[in-house]
């Protein structure tokens, strides 16, 4: 749960978006599951005070290594960027309930921006000889993808489609546009389980969606999926203090038989069934 992890490699992937790749060796890799995250101490002082949550993007059990991708967003991640190879970091984790791992059928991974990172681990974990996988990924522009681990997708040799806001790569528009057309492609009518791509399985095989990205995008993804009765899992983000379920700082709201209820994003999530998340909170 609390591990001193050694920094095996640490590098900046692309200047413009400040995304770093950090490989850690230690005890976490042995039990980490796709969709879980680590809660990292980024410095030795009380400034900043709290740990920072970062998704586990790749898990290499044989080498005892996990890979994290993070974007420099403020003080904490800027400090983390200064950590050197060979140093150790205090890492709490693996934390949380991750993605369900389908054993068959089809899986669409839908990512907005840096929301791709937790999906990498799911992509690597599914048995792609039995599950057809495709990635839909949206971001601002072409440069983003190169600096955000597009190489990982190429290396894993997976089918993917991208969308950019400025049209500089892939389709111009939003990742939800990609999702909508993929869900439509094989005429998945109301209530029917659609098949995704031409040649993408046997028409009746179950399609699932796993998504991570900004909240507005996740809401739209969930709505699209619900309309077609496609099960969808979403990976949520919230400000965290403890990261272990003790402080109730990181809650989201879900619908239950007994009415709306709070769930802790850190330990009850971060992955939730999209159907149960209450997206518009007062």
């Amino acid at each position: 749960m609390l591990s001193q992890e050694k920094i095996i490699s640490h590098r900046l992937l692309g200047l413009q978006h400040g995304i770093h790749q950090l490989v850690l060796r230690g005890a976490i890799a042995a039990t980490a599951q796709p969709g879980q995250f680590v809660h990292l101490k980024v410095g030795a002082t009380t400034e900043p005070l709290l740990r920072r949550p970062i998704s586990i993007a790749r898990i290499d059990r044989a080498r005892g290594e996990i890979t994290l991708f993070y974007r420099v967003a403020g003080r904490g991640t800027a400090l983390l960027a200064g950590a050197k190879e060979g140093e150790t970091l205090s890492v709490l984790g693996p934390v949380g309930k991750g993605f369900a791992l389908p054993g068959e059928g089809e899986l669409l991974l839908v990512a907005g921006g840096i929301g791709i990172f937790p999906l990498f681990s799911l992509l690597e974990a599914v048995d792609r000889s039995r599950v057809k996988v495709k990635v839909l990924w949206g971001a601002e522009s072409r440069e983003f993808f190169e600096g955000a681990g597009l190489a990982v997708l190429r290396e894993l040799d997976v089918a993917y489609e991208v969308a950019t806001l400025d049209g500089s790569l892939g389709q111009k528009g939003l990742v939800t546009d990609l999702l909508a057309s993929n869900l439509r492609r094989e005429g998945g009518g109301q209530g029917m389980l659609p098949s995704v791509m031409p040649g993408f399985g046997r028409g009746d095989s179950v399609l699932r969606v796993a998504a991570c990205g900004p909240r507005g995008m996740l809401k739209a993804v969930t709505e699209l999926c619900l309309r077609q009765a496609v099960p969808v899992e979403v990976c949520l983000e919230e400000r965290m203090a403890c990261g272990v379920g003790a402080c109730l700082g990181c809650v989201c709201t879900v619908t239950t038989a007994a009415g709306p209820a709070r769930r802790r994003v850190c330990t009850d999530g971060p992955v939730f069934d999209g159907r149960e998340v209450v997206w518009d909170e007062g």
Partner: protein, 314 residues
């Protein structure tokens, strides 16, 4: 030399003086994954209310220089679910449990105190008087000596368990509040609760917390807390549980020198889940080095002798 760590706080007997603070330790189980909680002096669980509460919307957390703001809004399952679900699990943790209660009226405090069994793992009740007093127009019970005293008086009638009055630091005269709760049946005083604070996001121009304001905790509040423990030690004879920014054994020693007979670790758990254990070990080593046979010899040493005799209090 063996150092005696046992701590006796007016009827609340602890194996050592290190507790965990309410709201930072869930209902215990979350940290049981990191170590055996029976090593602690005890745990204080999340504040409970009569009815379940869903708490505030998010964001509930904002970071501050060496500290944090929280506006959880007392989310808790309510008394009934606490008794049926949480309490049986707490029994299994094999440690002294302090139950923190919050009421929105005097009757609610009384009902909560009456419902907590005296023959369970519950070792004491901590009465959180920082809650808004709805009937008297929304002012917190804990900011006025008379209403603070009343809360303790009504709770006292309902239980024989040791009563801890948890004081709010958002007052001008902490000594007056301490006297009021001492005169009305409190056995122990704990302090400080969080200091009211606020942050604004300069990008959006809006408050960071959905609740606008929240409670400040962590290292940033430590000197305020030490000062208030010092003042309360002078004002009343009751044993004190000191808290506010304690993250290492040195901080704990400082609180004990100021007059705390025990300490609670709160926000530090979030940063270092092992902090309470490290503090226990550090306290023991410090006492051994200084030649104290009991950790209780530290309590109040910062108050110089003359001051105490003039004061006539201790």
């Amino acid at each position: 030399m063996k150092v005696d760590l046992t701590t006796n706080l007016g009827g609340l007997k602890l194996k050592n003086p290190v507790l965990t603070a309410s709201g930072t330790f869930g209902f215990g189980e979350e940290y049981a994954r990191f170590y055996d909680l029976s090593l602690l002096g005890g745990v204080t669980v999340k504040g409970i209310t009569l009815q379940p509460r869903i708490g505030n919307p998010v964001p509930r957390i904002a970071e501050t220089p060496s500290g944090m703001l929280n506006a959880v809004g007392l989310e808790n399952p309510g008394l009934e679910a606490f008794l049926s679900t949480c309490l049986p699990r707490l029994e299994r943790l094999n440690t002294a449990v302090i139950v923190n209660i919050s009421g929105f009226s005097l009757e609610e405090y009384a009902q909560l105190a009456a419902a907590l069994p005296e023959d369970s793992c519950i070792a004491a009740i901590e009465v959180n008087i920082s809650c808004p007093n709805i009937k008297d127009g929304g002012m917190a019970f804990g900011t006025d000596p008379r209403s603070a005293g009343k809360v303790l008086a009504v709770t006292r009638k309902q239980t024989r368990l040791p009563l801890i009055a948890k004081l709010s630091p958002n007052v001008t005269d902490i000594g007056a509040i301490a006297k009021a709760v001492a005169d009305n049946g409190a056995d122990i005083i704990s302090l400080i609760n969080t200091l009211l604070g606020m942050r604004i996001d300069i990008k959006t121009g809006r408050p960071v917390l959905a609740n606008t304001m929240g409670g400040l905790s962590g290292p940033a509040v430590l000197p305020v807390a030490v000062r208030m423990v010092y003042q309360v030690y002078k004002a009343v004879r009751l044993p004190i549980i000191g808290m506010g920014g304690i993250s290492c054994w040195q901080d704990a020693v400082e609180f004990m020198l100021a007059g705390a007979a025990a300490v609670s670790v709160g926000t530090a758990n979030f940063v270092n889940p092992l902090a309470p254990l490290e503090i226990i070990h550090g306290l023991e080593a410090y006492c051994r080095e200084k030649g104290y046979h009991s950790v209780q010899e530290l309590v109040g040493l910062a108050h110089c002798k003359e001051e105490l005799t003039n004061d006539g209090k201790r």
